[in-house]
Each structure stands twice: as structure tokens, then as C-alpha cells.
């Protein structure tokens, strides 16, 4: 019985970490599933996730595809690293694509549970999961930060 409990705990630790993170974000940021949250550049006040990268603007969504597909649209930066990544509730990163792998800086993705022949339609292996859009902000002058913040805030989900 102890061995069984040991193995189950090891197996589900990532899910527990994810569930706690989900709860904290939902509670502290007043954000629901399929709503996008734009985080500013992390500082010493940032306590949601360990080892945040202070060179990134993060936008996140806890997605739920049980009722509808999700469309993600944005005009992303054309001169810095950015990426879109998706995670399962056991924290496995099942998809990542960066700016150099997209043909354009106009982000137009559909996240769905169904198969599709279109490149901009991504089939999620899970109904519920997590998305992170990362935008690299290497230069920390106010002008650069503000221009990236503006682009970040224009990322839309519907």
C-alpha cells in the first residue's frame, strides 16, 4: 500500500504543482479559464512561479476546449524572440513554436480538439491545459518596454 501511494504521489506531483498554480492565479489575478492574463516583466515581487525570467513579458491562458475552439490573434514583434507554448496539466510541454518558425509576425492560431489539415490549427491532446506566450525584452529602456507591452496587450483570445 505504501509503495502504491509512493508511486502515485510521484506520478501526480506535477499535477498538484499545476493545480496549486492554477488556483493561485485564479484567486490572485481574478482570471477564469479561456481568459488571457498579461504579466509585466517579473521582479522580486513576482511569486507565482519559481525562477521567472526577468527578460520576458508573459501572457498566459488556462484553456478549456470542452465547449469551443480557441482563436489566438496578435501582431507580434518582428525583431525579438517570441514563442507560443502549450502544456498539459501534468506540466508537459507538448507544443512550442518561436518567431523564426512562424512565417509571419501576425499570429493567427486555432486551438482545437479536432484534426485539421491547416498549419495554423493546433490539435490539443487534452481538453484543459495551459498556454504561455513569451516576448523577449532584452533592452530595458522605457521605450522598448512600452512598445512590447502594447503588442502584448493586443493579443486576443476568442
Amino acid at each position: 500500500m505504501s509503495i502504491c501511494s509512493y508511486n502515485l504521489t510521484i506520478h501526480y506531483i506535477p499535477n498538484i504543482v499545476y493545480a496549486v498554480f492554477h488556483y493561485k492565479i485564479e484567486k490572485n489575478q481574478n482570471i477564469k479559464d479561456n481568459e488571457i492574463k498579461h504579466f509585466d516583466i517579473p521582479s522580486d515581487q513576482s511569486r507565482n512561479v519559481v525562477m521567472p525570467n526577468p527578460d520576458f513579458l508573459y501572457s498566459t491562458i488556462f484553456y478549456d476546449l470542452s465547449e469551443k475552439d480557441l482563436n489566438i490573434n496578435a501582431n507580434m514583434p518582428d525583431s525579438t524572440y517570441w514563442s507560443v507554448s502549450f502544456y498539459k496539466p501534468n506540466t508537459i510541454n507538448w507544443f512550442v513554436k518561436n518567431d523564426q518558425e512562424f512565417d509571419t509576425n501576425k499570429l493567427d492560431l486555432t486551438l482545437t480538439l479536432n484534426d485539421s489539415k491547416y498549419e495554423n490549427v493546433i490539435k490539443s491532446p487534452v481538453k484543459k491545459g495551459f498556454m504561455i506566450i513569451r516576448i523577449l525584452v532584452e533592452k530595458k529602456d522605457e521605450k522598448s518596454i512600452e512598445s512590447y507591452r502594447t503588442l502584448q496587450k493586443n493579443i486576443t483570445i476568442n
Binding site: M1, S2, I3, C4, S5, Y6, N7, L8, T9, I10, H11, I13, P14, V17, Y18, F21, P42, S43, D44, S46, R47, V49, V50, M51, P52, N53, P54, D55, Y81, S83, S85, Y87, N90, T91, I92, N93, V96, N98, Q100, F130, I132, L136, E138, K139, K140
Partner: protein, 186 residues
């Protein structure tokens, strides 16, 4: 009657012991970076093909929502060249060139793996704020160039991130030449 009480208690105890041992194991692995690849005093994130449940549990504890090694590499050090823990009552120089990649940065984290409070709000050194050909100075007191503040942390960690590393980097993690962290007199 006695068995009706003892058996559920034993079952519950077994579950608690199993769960507790598992959490202790992962916490101790996290502290000792057991699953990491080692290169000098740097520990590198293991392959992110996370089919192994131990490795997955470990990654979720130290860097949840990390990316795979082609997208990003995370080199972590908690020790100087001599193998002593990094402490804010000493100064350090980071000497050497980061591995080749599209973007790199050094970030200092406290013992709790969160960013360290400092008046200058400097948390990272990257190629944009680096003064070339000068070492990076890790110190609790202000430095004019390439300063990575260590605040008042008893112990701290330095993470070197490399995004979109060259193939020669992520395929040679154990033999790669990495920067060194040298303790210097204040």
C-alpha cells in the same frame, strides 16, 4: 471488532508514509539536483522528454513550464569555482563566454528560487546590458558596470539561460566549456 479499527488505520498510515516518502524524495532530489547533467559546478536541465515520472516531478518543482533543450537551456550554479556555496557576503566574477545561442542571460535567484530584492532593480545580465570584455560582477554592493546584485541573500543561485542554443551546445552538455564563477576579495 479490533481488526475493523486496526486495518483502516494501517491502510491510512501506509498511504501517508508512501506519500510523505515520495515528497521527501523529490525535495531531496531537488536540493541535490539529482536528475541534472553536471558540467563543473553548473547543473543543466536534463532532457525534457519527460516520460520518467521522477524526472517530471523534479522538473515541476524546480522549473515548472520549462521548455525543451532545443528551445532553451537552463544552467544552474549554487557554487563558486572552489565548490563553496554562493553567498552575498562575498563578491564573485563570472568569467568566460556563454554557450552559443540566440539569446543568453545570467539571472540571480535567492535560496527560494525567486528574484532577489535590490535597490537598482537589476535581476539579469544579458548581451544588451553587458559591457563587453569586462567580467560580470556579482556583489551586494553597487558596481559601475556588469553588476549582478546579490542583495542580502545568505545563499543564492545563478542561472545561465541560452535560448535556441546551437546544436553543438545541447548535444555536448557534459563537455561544453562554460563560464566560471570566481570568488574575489571585497
Amino acid at each position: 471488532m479490533k481488526n475493523k479499527i486496526i486495518i483502516p488505520i494501517l491502510v491510512l498510515l501506509s498511504i501517508i508514509i508512501g506519500g510523505y516518502t515520495a515528497i521527501k524524495k523529490i525535495n531531496s532530489s531537488t536540493q541535490n539536483n539529482e536528475f541534472s547533467i553536471k558540467n563543473g559546478n553548473w547543473k543543466i536541465n536534463p532532457n525534457m522528454d519527460l516520460k520518467d515520472s521522477y524526472q517530471r516531478a523534479y522538473i515541476s518543482r524546480i522549473g515548472v513550464f520549462a521548455l525543451d533543450e532545443k528551445e532553451a537551456l537552463y544552467f544552474l550554479s549554487s557554487k563558486d569555482n572552489d565548490g563553496n556555496p554562493l553567498r552575498s557576503d562575498f563578491d564573485y566574477q563570472i568569467i568566460g563566454t556563454p554557450p552559443k545561442g540566440r539569446y543568453w542571460s545570467y539571472t540571480l535567484y535567492g535560496e527560494d528560487y525567486f528574484l532577489v530584492k535590490n535597490d537598482a532593480n537589476i535581476y539579469t545580465i544579458n548581451k544588451e546590458n553587458l559591457t563587453k570584455d569586462k567580467p560580470i560582477m556579482v556583489s551586494s554592493t553597487k558596481k559601475d558596470i556588469n553588476w549582478l546584485p546579490s542583495g542580502n541573500e545568505t545563499k543564492f543561485h545563478i542561472t545561465l539561460r541560452v535560448y535556441n542554443p546551437d546544436e553543438s551546445v545541447y548535444k555536448n552538455l557534459e563537455s561544453l566549456e562554460l563560464p566560471t564563477i570566481k570568488k574575489i576579495e571585497k
